[in-house]
Amino acid sequence: MNAGGQSWGRYPRVSQTMVELTDRHRQLPAMESSMLPYGNGRSYGDSCLNGGNTLLRTRALDHFIAFDAATGKLECEAGLLLSQILDLVVPQGWFVPVTPGTRFITVGGAIANDVHGKNHHRAGNFGRHVLELELLRSDGSRRVCSPNENAEWFGATIGGLGLTGLITRARLQLRRIAGPWMSTEVHRFENLAGFFRLSQQSDRDYEYTVAWIDCLATGQSLGRGLFTRANHAPAHPDRRPIAPAGRLRVPFTPPLSLINRLTLRSFNALYYHRQRAPVVHTTMHYQPHFYPLDGIGDWNRIYGPRGFMQYQCVVPPADAERHVAQLLKLIAASGSGSFLAVLKQFGNLASPGLLSFPRPGATLALDFPNQGARTLALLDRLDEVVATAGGAVYPAKDARMSGAHFRQYFPAWESFRPFVDPHFSSSFWRRVME
């Protein structure tokens, strides 16, 4: 629980008033300060924070409204978690159309950040699967928004970082599955060219693709890693579903980050060599496939009391390999970096969202223990590469990009601005609009 309103990176630390919403039919509370909806606090940086102001907690808005098991149309309140949806719909042969690397996010958060997943090349963003949503504004007005109705509000709210008002409920189109199992293949690749080759080969026949990168490898091995491609498996009636695992948890915050140069180098080398064969085929349950870290509660504590910063960027397809190589060189040279460095190619499916992050190209995501000025300087250097390449950085994971860079990455910010609710704001928004 994030009782005090923290973000997942536990950086920056700000304090704000928490107000719990319990009834979607009620008006928003009237208050002097600005408000921001706060779901499960899984955004990494400050896009889910509103320092010195108010957060509206939405987790109690967790009611299902309707589910048609024949068509896979699900209507629910925006505070419901994807995990709660999956628990209900997977046994009935349905799956969320798009999921990020954690299932502990709210539907409202998925829409407000227009999240993406390993199937971006096939399914696009979460926002493409939203059939309809209701937007409640501080002036008391309610709008039903969809691609056909109030379409401009729909476009502003998808990826709108919670700034256009409160999403009270949404109707989603789920995806049919035969069962909870995934057929997965893990391919080892020796360098960046290997990644792009595998990605090219896989996008047509595999719904989910993603690669783990050894971000400390250099020279010939720059960009080496493990490429995972997967599809939902046919039904395996003989297999019993996995028992809900007794969840591990990081019980307290260690005084120092456990991720440092030494642990990282050993981990990455071991992880890269964990499979001897170049390819390993497995049938596995969807949970460890999509959500390896969800099995460890409060894993963000391993970065110690100063927290960590995520960095996720996308660079355009032309020259993607060169730009990713540049980024990886900067990271390897810094010795900083994460054991979860992830590389994926986005597809061409456009999102309805004005401020949506995904766009065609290669996306790289890493987390860095917060070492203050050193980390900030490294991320600024990465930003220079991304900006020159004509790419973008993901606001949901950001705590530090400059306003100038934000406005360059998201040129639609000017057409977005009129849709911001006059009583809504966030730490992120104030920072990038300065």
Partner: protein, 245 residues
């Protein structure tokens, strides 16, 4: 078929409990004051697997309306396997000290109305010769403390009444469970600072369902309130009256 009646169905603990029964495919009948919220909760429980959900509005302090609502419940459910009485408020103790009217009104909501409902439910369950009646009392009813003794007195009345009713109905195969939650993080306790002793409604709901499945009599939720209240009950008065609890 599992048939469940929930009174005070919009309370956080009751709703979490109802979700567990819905996931088992139960048929539920919900009773509370707020019709709009009842409608939302009923829709939610249907999606979660309840085979059928009915609901009725009731202000528990309108004792003359109890019989009609119970009639409606029995009409839908036919026979009832589990009844959960979960309504309640958390009175402002200071207000109860300065106004007799407030004190008695709060006692009525948390004590008298519950006793009235249990009285009306008893013959129905007795006639069935089976079923579980779970009533949410509180650790506060175990001993009066200066910080909330009006609430504690009402819950003590409920606990004592439930104890007697349990003895009576045990003979005909009906189990009465006294649920004694400690601090629970719900909208009712929104303004309290939460510490290590606070439990989530989900955890308490788990305990209630488990207690009903196992045919328990008195359950402290979470369990650690049992030893805590054992100690608090046994502090001698000459010490207790000097404490600030």
């Amino acid at each position: 078929m599992l048939n469940v009646l929930v009174i005070g169905a919009t309370s956080a603990i009751a709703e979490a409990t109802a979700r567990r029964y819905a996931a088992r495919g139960a048929r539920l009948f919900l009773v509370a004051r707020d019709n709009a919220r009842l409608t939302d909760i009923a829709a939610d429980l249907r999606v979660r697997g309840a085979i059928d959900v009915g609901h009725a509005t009731l202000d528990v302090n309108r004792l003359d309306a109890h019989a009609e609502v119970l009639n409606q419940a029995w009409q839908l459910l036919q026979s009832v396997d589990v009844v959960l009485i979960a309504h309640g408020t958390l009175p402002d103790q200071a207000a109860c000290e300065s106004s007799v009217e407030t004190a008695l009104a709060e006692f009525a909501t948390n004590g008298t109305s519950t006793i009235a409902l249990m009285t009306a439910l008893a013959p129905r369950l007795e006639a069935q010769g089976r079923g579980t009646l779970a009533v949410i009392s509180s650790v506060a009813g175990d001993r009066g403390r200066q910080s909330n003794y009006l609430y504690g007195a009402a819950k003590a009345a409920v606990s004592t009444f439930a104890s007697g009713l349990r003895q009576r109905l045990a003979k005909v195969g009906v189990n009465v469970i006294t649920i004694k939650p400690g601090f629970v993080d719900t909208p009712m306790t929104r303004d309290f600072r939460k510490g290590a002793l606070w439990a989530k409604p989900d955890a308490v709901a788990n305990g209630i369902v488990h207690a009903a499945d196992r045919g328990r009599s008195v359950v402290y939720l979470p369990w650690f309130w049992l030893p805590i209240m054992l100690i608090i009950r046994h502090i001698p008065e000459f010490i207790f009256k000097r404490l600030k609890l």
